[in-house]
Amino acid sequence: MNAATMAEAALLALGVAALWLGAFGLLRLPNAFARLHCVGFAGAAGSFCFTTAVVIDRGGGRSGSSHSRRGYSCCSLAPLPLMRPGVRCGFGRKLTPLQMGLFLLLALSGTGVVLTREPRRQVIMMGFNGLVLALLFLVLQAPDVAFSELAVVTVALPFLFLIALAGVRINEHRQQAEKR
């Protein structure tokens, strides 16, 4: 293991530690603003560590880096290294730990969407569920589907639900005002 690989590993570990700290703060801090501060710090620190690790891995933009350059198109994908020993599932494939974790998270977040009864909260939980779904699509070798899911879950779905909920709320206010 050379110095660059060790620096990469150290930076990746630091980034993970920063995000774990952010998650801990998210769960433990008392109000939304304190949580927002903590999350902002964690995101910035993680971003710095991961980006620096990528720059070191790519040799600072010089030619002859450790990775080969491939075409810039999703249509020319090489087979992804996903098939590892693990739990055997359908179609003769095996689940990786990452896939298992994301499947579990998807089931839990879907249950969370169903169990949330208040529509405003449910919309936000649906956003999280869609994000996990997009991550799972990428792990299951479907980057184009993940792309569509990201577009739907970050733009189309929230606007659709928020506008519908706002319309319902405004109509309720209007009917109450007319009754008076």
Binding site: E8, A9, L12, A13, G15, V16, L19, W20, A23, L26, A32, R35, L36, A42, G43, S47, F50, V54, R69, R70, G71, Y72, C74, L77, A78, L80, P81, R84, T96, P97, L98, G101, L102, L105, L108, S109, G112, L115, R120, I124, M125, F128, L131, A134, L135, L138, P143, A146, F147, L150, A151, T154, V155, P158, L162, I163, L165, A166, R169, I170
Partner: protein
């Protein structure tokens, strides 16, 4: 599983923590949790692009980050004004 994919897997507990808060807290706390989940999701996408040696996968993370800003502004605006 290489270093990048292992790191992406190590971020799963942070994503789960954000999910736990997004499932249980009040509206504003849920929004903060969703923001954190978006940040963690972006890092996972970026690390997988490195792990699979597919630079085009970074487009996914870029899309997520660019689209999440108007989404958050829309949430904040709608929740503050109409909902």
């Amino acid at each position: 599983m290489n270093l990048w994919l292992t790191t992406a897997g190590a971020l799963l507990p942070a994503l789960a923590a954000a999910g736990a808060l997004a499932a249980t807290a009040g509206v504003s706390d849920r929004l903060v949790a969703l923001e954190f989940a978006t940040a963690v999701g972006f890092f996972m996408l970026m690390l997988r692009a490195g792990g699979y040696d597919q630079p085009s996968f970074i487009d996914l993370g870029l899309t997520l980050v660019l689209l999440s800003y108007p989404r958050t502004i829309a949430y904040a605006h709608f929740l503050e004004r109409w909902l």
